[in-house]
C-alpha cells in the first residue's frame, strides 16, 4: 500500500483542531446559577463518565473525519496484484497463433495440444482466457475459471489465412492487464515467425507484472518457395496483348529452378521454368491469357516441393470484355489532336477503348449513351442540340474530357461544366516565360502514375474562373502563374475534366512528353470506369460494398465453397466486408455489377525465419519490472502508467467519509439539543 500524493498527509496536523476543541476546551459549559450548593455533593462520576464517553465518541468521529479527508487527498492505493493474489489465483491469457503459417505441417495441432495441457494445469483459483492473434486479435472466451469452457473453445479453433502480429497480441495483453488491474501470465503458442515482429520493438511492450511464456512450435527456419505476387490486368480486351508477371520468392532456400504454371479456370495456359537464386526472387512473364468473355478465375502455381505447399499458388481474376467506344469531338480542320489522342489510346496495353472522332456537327445526332466517355478537343462553339445532349449525357453519369485551345470563346462558359472562360492567353516568346506545371494533386487518379510534368511547356492556355472552394470543383493541377490547368467538376451523376490547354502539340508540348501516355491512360480509365476496380486482395483486407446512395440495396458475396457470407441484414446494411480467407469471392454490388475478388494470404507468412532468442528474452523482460514503487519510472513505462496498475482506495475512503459526516452530524445535533435543554434549565 502507498500514497500517490503523500504530501497531503501533512494535512493530518489538522487533527489538532478537534483535539483543541474537545480536550483543551472540554466541558466548558455555561454554569447554571443556584441559590446554594449546600446540599449538593460531588457524587456525579457515573453521569459525567457517560457524558464524557459521548463526547469522546464525537471527538473520535471528528478526528477520524479529518484523518480520512487527508487520506482521501493523499490517494491511497494498494497494488492490484496484492488484491489479485489475495485469493491466490493466477490470471492467464492463452494466446493461440492461428495465422496462415500455422498450417505448416501439424504446427497448429501441436499448439492446441500444448494449450490444452496448460489449461488442464489450471488450479481452481486460476482464471483463464483464450485469444487468437492470427490476424486481428480475437477474444474467444471471457476470463473464466471454467476449464471445460476453455477446452471446448480451444477444440473449436481452426488455423486461418491471415497474418500474425506480435504487436497485436502484446496490445491485448496490455489491455487485459489494465482492465483487470492485475498481473497476468501470458502464454503464447506460436511458430516464432520473425515477420510477425513489429517495426518498432516498443510495440511489444508488456505491462509491468506480465509474465510472458512462449510455447514455440518451430525449431528451425524451414526453406520455402512461394508465388509472392502476380501482376495481371484486371480487364482483358485483347488476349494477344495481355502481360502477366509473376514473382517467385524463396525464403531460406538455395539456388533452384522452379516450374511456374499459369492456370485459367483450372486449365493450364502456359508453364515456364524459372531459376530462383538462394533466398532471392525472380519474375516470370506470360504474354498471352486466352480467357473467355466474362470473369475468369486464374492462378499462378509453382511446383515448390517444399514443406509448405499452401503458399505455392497465387489467385487472381480477370474479366474479358470488348473495347468500349469513346467519342472524340474536334473542330473542323483539326487533325492534330485526333492524331495524338487516337495514337495514345491505341498504344495502351489493355486497349480498353476505341476512339470515334467526329466534328461537332457530325456529333449532333450521335447517340452518346453508347460511349464510355466523350473528349471535347478544342471544338469551339457547339451546336445547341449537341450541348444539350452532352448535358444530358453527363447528368446521367457520363464523363467528359474537355481540352480548351484557341477555339474557346472568352466570356462564354465551358460546355456542360459551366465554368466561365475569362480569356485566352498566348505566351509572347520575347517578353514572357513559357508556363510550366507547378503543382499537381497526386491523389487525383489521373496523376497516380503521371507525376513527372517537369518537361511540359505551355505556350497557350485558357484562363478559367474556377473557384477553388466550390464543393463540386477540384483543381487537380495549376500552372506556375497559379492559374488552374486541370479542373474536375462534378455535374449531376457524371464528371467533366477540363484541361486549360489544347492537345494539338501547338498550345503545349504535352503530346510529345513521356507523361502524356500515363496521364491519358489514367484519365480515360477513370472517365470510362475501368480503372477503379481491384481484382486482388489480401486476407484480412476490406472492400467497400456500397456508396451512401446505395443504402438498403442488397449486396451479395459468395465465398469459396459457394457459401453466402452475408446475412440478410448485412447484405442490405453492411458498408464493407473483410475477406476472411484465401479464395475467390463473387461480389454482386448494389449497382448490379459483378466482380470476382481473388484473395491471397499475406506472403510474409511464407517466411519461416525465426525470431531470435535474444529478442524473445527482451520481450519477456518488458513485463518483469512489476514490483517498483509508484513514484519510480519503470523500464517500460512511466509512473503515470504505474498508477493505473494500482487499485486506488480513495473511493472507499470518500464513502467512509460520507458515513462519518452523517454520524458526526447526528451525534453533534444531539449534543446541541442537550446543551439547549440545559440552557433552558
Amino acid at each position: 500500500m502507498g500514497f500517490l500524493t503523500p504530501w497531503f498527509l501533512l494535512g493530518a496536523a489538522a487533527v489538532g483542531l478537534p483535539i483543541y476543541v474537545h480536550l483543551l476546551r472540554q466541558y466548558r459549559q455555561k454554569p447554571v446559577p443556584f441559590s446554594s450548593l449546600m446540599f449538593f455533593e460531588r457524587r456525579t462520576q457515573s453521569s459525567i463518565k457517560h457524558r464524557r464517553l459521548k463526547y469522546l465518541l464525537l471527538f473520535a468521529l471528528r478526528c477520524a473525519f479529518i484523518a480520512l479527508l487527508v487520506l482521501a487527498f493523499a490517494r491511497p492505493y494498494v497494488h492490484s496484484s496484492a488484491i489479485a493474489n489475495a485469493n491466490g489465483g493466477r490470471t492467464i491469457v492463452f494466446a493461440i497463433d492461428n495465422s496462415f503459417s500455422m498450417r505448416q505441417d501439424d504446427r497448429f495441432t501441436k499448439a492446441k495440444d500444448a494449450a490444452r495441457d496448460e489449461i488442464r494445469k489450471m488450479r481452481e483459483t486460476d482464471r483463464g482466457q483464450l485469444v487468437t492473434f492470427g490476424g486481428p486479435g480475437k477474444l474467444i472466451t471471457d476470463m473464466t475459471s471454467d476449464r471445460q469452457l476453455l477446452l471446448g473453445a480451444l477444440a473449436a479453433l481452426e488455423p486461418g489465412d491471415d497474418t500474425s502480429s506480435y504487436a497485436e497480441i502484446a496490445r491485448i495483453f496490455r489491455s487485459t492487464s489494465e482492465s483487470l488491474k492485475t498481473d497476468i501470465e501470458a502464454q503464447i503458442f506460436t511458430d516464432d515467425q520473425k515477420s510477425s515482429l513489429p517495426a518498432a520493438f516498443s510495440d511489444l511492450r508488456l505491462d509491468d507484472g506480465t509474465k510472458l511464456v512462449v510455447h514455440s512450435f518451430a525449431d528451425k527456419a524451414i526453406p520455402n518457395w512461394t508465388v509472392e505476387n502476380v501482376d495481371a490486368p484486371r480487364r482483358v480486351f485483347d488476349t494477344k496483348k495481355v502481360r502477366t508477371v509473376a514473382t517467385i520468392a524463396g525464403f531460406n532456400t538455395t539456388d533452384a529452378t522452379r516450374k511456374v504454371t499459369l492456370v485459367a479456370n483450372g486449365k493450364t495456359v502456359e508453364s515456364k521454368d524459372l531459376k530462383v537464386t538462394a533466398d532471392g526472387r525472380a519474375t516470370v512473364e506470360f504474354l498471352t491469357l486466352d480467357v473467355p468473355y466474362g470473369l475468369t478465375k486464374c492462378e499462378v502455381r509453382i511446383d515448390s516441393a517444399d514443406a509448405f505447399p499452401q503458399d505455392d499458388h497465387w489467385l487472381f481474376s480477370v474479366e474479358r470484355a470488348d473495347p468500349k467506344p469513346a467519342l472524340l469531338i474536334h473542330a473542323e480542320g483539326d487533325t492534330a489532336s485526333p492524331l495524338y489522342l487516337k495514337t495514345a489510346l491505341e498504344s495502351f496495353t489493355d486497349a480498353a477503348f476505341t476512339l470515334d472522332s467526329e466534328t461537332p456537327n457530325q456529333a449532333t445526332n450521335a447517340n452518346l449513351s453508347k460511349f464510355a466517355f466523350v473528349i471535347l478537343s478544342d471544338a469551339g462553339p457547339l451546336p445547341a442540340k449537341l450541348e444539350e445532349s452532352l448535358q444530358t449525357y453527363v447528368n446521367g453519369g457520363g464523363s467528359m474530357l474537355v481540352a480548351l485551345g484557341h477555339n474557346a470563346t472568352p466570356g462564354r462558359p465551358v460546355p456542360v461544366a459551366g465554368i466561365p472562360i475569362n480569356g485566352i492567353h498566348t505566351i509572347a516568346p520575347d517578353n514572357e516565360r513559357v508556363q510550366s506545371v507547378a503543382k499537381i494533386d497526386t491523389s487525383y487518379p489521373a496523376f497516380s502514375r503521371a507525376q513527372n510534368w517537369d518537361t511540359v511547356e505551355i505556350f497557350q492556355y485558357v484562363t478559367l474562373q474556377a473557384p477553388a472552394d466550390a464543393p463540386d470543383i477540384r483543381i487537380a493541377a495549376t500552372m506556375a502563374n497559379g492559374l488552374p490547368l486541370l479542373v474536375d467538376r462534378k455535374v449531376g451523376e457524371g464528371h467533366v475534366v477540363i484541361f486549360a490547354s489544347a492537345f494539338d502539340n501547338v498550345a503545349n508540348n504535352l503530346p510529345l512528353q513521356p507523361v502524356w501516355l500515363p496521364f491519358l491512360e489514367q484519365t480515360t480509365h477513370e472517365l470510362g470506369g475501368v480503372g477503379t476496380a481491384r481484382g486482388n486482395y489480401k486476407v484480412g483486407s476490406y472492400i467497400d460494398l456500397r456508396t451512401v446512395k446505395e443504402k438498403n440495396i442488397p449486396v451479395e458475396i459468395i465465398g469459396p465453397g459457394d457459401k453466402r457470407l452475408l446475412t440478410l441484414s448485412e447484405s442490405s446494411k453492411a458498408a464493407s466486408f473483410q475477406f476472411p480467407s484465401e479464395g475467390f469471392f463473387d461480389i454482386r454490388r448494389a449497382n448490379g455489377r459483378e466482380e470476382l475478388a481473388a484473395v491471397n494470404p499475406d506472403r510474409r507468412e511464407s517466411d519461416f525465419t525465426l525470431v531470435s532468442q535474444e529478442t524473445l528474452d527482451l520481450w519477456k523482460n518488458t513485463g518483469i519490472a512489476s514490483k517498483q514503487e509508484p513514484g519510480s519510472t519503470s523500464a517500460s513505462g512511466t509512473s503515470g502508467k504505474k498508477r493505473d496498475d494500482n487499485a486506488e482506495l480513495w473511493w472507499w475512503v470518500l464513502a467512509l467519509l460520507a458515513m462519518l459526516a452523517v454520524a458526526e452530524s447526528v451525534l453533534g445535533n444531539r449534543h446541541m439539543n442537550a446543551g439547549a435543554g440545559k440552557e433552558a434549565q
Binding site: F34, T44, S47, I48, Q681
Partner: protein, 295 residues
C-alpha cells in the same frame, strides 16, 4: 377573583410596594370574613390592677367609678405590640426558577406585615441584613412610618452571603422593647447554628417567628442532564447529575426543613415554611394560624 391577584407573579407586575401590601392584606382580610373562627389581632386589650409605680395617666377612671377599683387601661398603650421584621437580602435570596425571587416574595410578605401592623397601630420596624446589617428602620408608630418601611423594603436588594451570627449579635442593641421578631430568610445554614444564633432574641421576651422561604426548584430541582451549578453567593461550581438532584438532594432539603422546624420548636421559635410559588395570602394565613395557636 382576589386570589388571582395574590399570586406572587401577578403582584410582581405591580411596581408600587404599598399597593402590593394593600392588595395582599385587603384580599386576605376579605377572605377572613368568610371564616369567623380566625382572628387577626396580634394582642388583645386588658385591664391590669394598679400597682405602685404605675403611671396614673393610664388609670381608667370610669372603671374606678363603677367598681371602686383602680385599673390601669392597657388597651391603647401596653397592648400595642412592637413588630420587628428581619429581612435577609443575601445573594441566595435573589434566586428564582420562575415567577418571583425569594427576595421579592419576602419583600411582599414584609410589606404586607408592615401594612397589617400599621392598621393596628403597632410599632413596626425593619432590619435588612445579609452578612451584616444593611438597613435599619426603628420601630415606631409615627405618621409616615409605613412609607419609610415601604421605602426601606423597596430599596432592599440582593447582597452577598448570609451570616446570621454577625447581624443577629447586632440586633440585640436595637431591641429595647419586647415584641414580635419575624425573620424572613432561606436559612441556608446549619439549623442548629441558626437556632443558637437566633435563640438569644427570645430571651428578651420577644416572640421570634422564622419564615423560611424556598423556591420550588430548590425543593425539587429538575435537571434533564448533567449540569454545572454555580453557587450564587460564593460562586463555587459543582457538576451535578440529574439522578442526585432527583433523589438525594430532595431528601437532604426535606431533612433540612424538618430539622429547621425541630430546632426552632426546641428553641421556642415559631417556624413557618413558605413555598414562593404559593399565593401570599396562604403564606400569611399560615403565619396567623400559628399565631392563633399560640393564643
Amino acid at each position: 377573583m382576589m386570589q388571582r391577584f395574590l399570586d406572587p407573579a401577578v403582584l410582581a407586575s405591580i411596581s408600587s410596594l404599598d399597593l402590593v401590601a394593600k392588595t395582599v392584606v385587603d384580599g386576605f382580610v376579605a377572605g377572613l370574613h368568610r371564616s369567623p373562627t380566625f382572628g387577626f389581632s396580634q394582642e388583645f386589650a386588658e385591664y391590669r390592677q394598679y400597682s405602685e409605680g404605675d403611671d396614673l395617666r393610664h388609670v381608667d377612671w370610669n372603671v374606678y367609678a363603677r367598681s371602686d377599683r383602680i385599673y390601669i387601661k392597657r388597651f391603647k398603650g401596653e397592648t400595642n405590640s412592637q413588630l420587628l421584621i428581619l429581612l435577609d437580602t443575601s445573594a441566595s435570596m435573589t434566586y428564582k426558577s420562575s415567577g418571583v425571587s425569594k427576595l421579592d416574595y419576602a419583600r411582599y410578605i414584609a410589606a404586607s406585615l408592615c401594612y397589617l401592623s400599621s392598621q393596628q397601630r403597632d410599632a413596626t420596624g425593619l432590619i435588612v441584613f445579609d452578612d451584616d446589617v444593611k438597613n435599619y428602620v426603628a420601630p415606631s408608630t409615627r405618621q409616615g412610618q409605613l412609607m419609610r418601611l415601604f421605602h426601606a423594603i423597596d430599596k432592599a436588594e440582593g447582597g452577598t452571603r448570609t451570616d446570621f451570627a454577625k447581624p443577629f449579635a447586632h440586633f440585640q442593641q436595637f431591641l429595647r422593647r419586647r415584641g414580635i421578631v419575624i425573620v424572613l430568610s432561606d436559612f441556608y445554614d446549619d439549623p442548629k447554628r441558626i437556632a443558637s444564633v437566633i435563640e438569644p432574641l427570645r430571651y428578651h421576651g420577644n416572640e421570634v417567628v422564622l419564615l423560611h422561604l424556598l423556591d420550588p426548584n430548590e425543593l425539587a430541582p429538575k435537571f434533564k442532564g448533567p449540569v454545572l451549578l454555580q453557587d450564587i453567593e460564593d460562586e463555587s461550581a459543582l457538576e451535578v447529575s440529574p439522578d442526585y438532584a432527583r433523589n438525594e438532594y430532595r431528601d437532604k432539603i426535606s431533612h433540612h426543613i424538618s430539622e429547621m422546624g425541630d430546632k426552632a420548636a426546641a428553641s421556642g421559635l415559631e417556624y413557618v415554611f413558605m413555598d414562593t410559588s404559593k399565593p401570599l395570602d396562604s403564606a400569611l394565613r399560615n403565619y396567623l394560624a400559628i399565631r392563633q395557636r399560640r393564643r
